[in-house]
Amino acid sequence: MKGLLKSMGVTLSAFARKPVTRQYPEMHRALPERDRAFPILLWDHEIDEPFCTGCHACERACPVECMTVLMKDNPNHKSQGGESSRRKIIDKFWIDYGRCMRCNICVEVCNFDAIAMNNTWQGHEQSVYDRSDLVQELPQLLAEHRSGELKPWVAP
């Protein structure tokens, strides 16, 4: 009998407590500072072009082969009258987010620090109606860092 009354008390105290539910699509919890979503490309704000030179290092290192890279001569190079010291620059870049397993290897092998893992909520909310829509193209990959939404990287 004491146990029965005690259990009633337990449920009543649960009733008085605040619900633990978070209204997810409207309310986002703060992400951990080293959160890792999908890889994106970084933008060189000083010269106003991507860091990426299209060297294929990440493409070759990718264990699931989700990347495709095409390189071109940089029209903004100093020899062409521009201001950039990059002789080659990225032409086209596709990452299939459906295949990517977020292993961080592409970030580690990059010689130019041109690729990074997205650490914002937008990086996680990638649901689409068709698998082919998960393949990201160059402007989409660059947009996040170019607009300044990416949070600074934190050392472990």
């Binding site: 009998m1 004491k2 649960a14 539910t21």
Partner: protein, 377 residues
């Protein structure tokens, strides 16, 4: 022949039609509100939010559910008995609504003042067992049949303590007319004079309503829904409607018979609005406690259920009736008689608590029976 309907002179048949319509409309709204409230309250007991998406605070959730149920196909299994299968929901549903005829909400606010109101309510309330058994039998489904038989066994077993506890109160109130019972509680509500019948009534009410912890007939985890396994759409919603309507009416009955309905503690001079509020608050408290019990206790076994009814509740109800009779016949002083009633009944509550305590803390070991039926030591 004309009759007085809330101050308007009205033909008898038109009057009856209007009153029935008021009941049906009010019940549908109340049931939708109850479903919403139950989901919200149970959610809070589990530290969730409950429905929030449909309308402000999820208030339209029940409306959306009702629309969905009405729009769904009304499926009947091929082997089902067509007539019995399709009539069963009405047999569950109509008696519940008939019970409303005698329930007093405020002074002169009931469908009809019946001199045998309590008797009528109890008589009508037991009819819906027929509907459950019809549903279970006609579905041609083992789970439905098992659920219907459990429902019948349970409802009939708990009908007796329910009726006897109300008889004990009727002896004290000296009337079977619900309006008079309520009016007689202006000073002391019956729960003070008769706590034991209230406890018995409450437990038996939970069983009659097939609510947790007595919900074996519809136990989702073992009976996949009991008698209404095969029902869908509007017919299934009739069962649901009947379940919540009976919860509401049992709460109203308890608040009228035990908690003093509109009469206690304000009396008749405060006007009708406050009487409605009083009745609603009392019924609401009982409904909340039913939700609370539901979110706390696990389901009992069927043998525990039957044992509790026949060996604990029923004898105690009989003892209460005999004690009441002795006190009311041999004690002419009203004050002394009331004190005696309250004290003996409170003692009965402690005795019942002791019985429950004993069965909870020292469950009788059941002999392990081997395949050949011999007891294994």
């Amino acid at each position: 022949m004309n009759i007085d309907l809330f101050g308007i002179d009205m033909n008898v048949w038109a009057d009856a039609f209007i009153r029935v319509n008021i009941i049906v409309l009010m019940m549908t709204v109340v049931v939708m509100g109850l479903i919403y409230l139950e989901r919200k309250v149970i959610a809070r007991f589990q530290m969730r939010l409950g429905p929030t998406r449909t309308g402000p605070l999820g208030l339209l959730q029940s409306v959306a559910d009702a629309l969905k149920l009405v729009a769904k196909e009304d499926v009947r299994p091929r082997n089902a008995d067509p007539w019995v299968f399709e009539l069963a929901p009405y047999f569950v549903f109509v008696p519940i609504f008939l019970m409303f005829v005698a329930i007093p909400f405020a002074v002169d606010w009931e469908v009809r003042i019946l001199d045998l109101g309590l008797f009528y309510v109890l008589a009508v309330s037991s009819v819906n067992i027929v509907g459950w058994v019809m549903a279970g039998w006609a579905s041609d489904n083992r789970y439905a049949m098992l659920g219907a038989l459990r429902s019948a066994a349970q409802s009939i077993s708990y009908e007796l303590p329910l009726v006897l506890s109300l008889i004990a109160v009727a002896m004290v109130a000296n009337s079977l007319n619900l309006t008079e019972i309520v009016a007689g509680q202006g000073r002391i509500p019956n729960i003070i004079l008769q706590p034991l019948p209230f406890v018995i009534f409450y437990i038996a009410m939970l069983a009659e309503l097939n609510r947790t912890p007595f919900d074996m007939p519809v136990g989702e985890s073992e009976m996949v829904g009991g008698p209404y396994v095969e029902y869908s759409g509007i017919r299934w919603s009739f069962f649901f409607l009947a379940e919540y309507a009976s919860l509401f009416i049992m709460a109203l009955l308890a608040s009228a018979v035990f908690l003093g309905g509109w009469a206690w503690p304000l009396g008749e001079d405060w006007g009708r609005g406050w009487q409605f509020v009083l009745t609603a608050v009392k019924a609401g408290a009982i409904i909340f406690s039913v939700f609370w019990v539901r979110s706390t206790f696990p389901r009992l076994r069927i043998d525990q259920l039957m044992t509790f009814s026949w060996k604990a509740l029923l004898p105690l109800a009989f003892v209460q009736i005999m004690v009441n009779g002795a006190i009311l016949v041999y004690e002419p002083e009203k004050e002394v008689a009331q004190t005696l009633l309250g004290v003996t009944s409170a003692f009965g509550v402690f005795f019942l608590a002791w019985i429950i305590n004993r069965s909870v803390t020292r469950p009788r070991p059941r002999p392990v029976v081997a395949a050949r039926g011999e007891a294994v030591s």
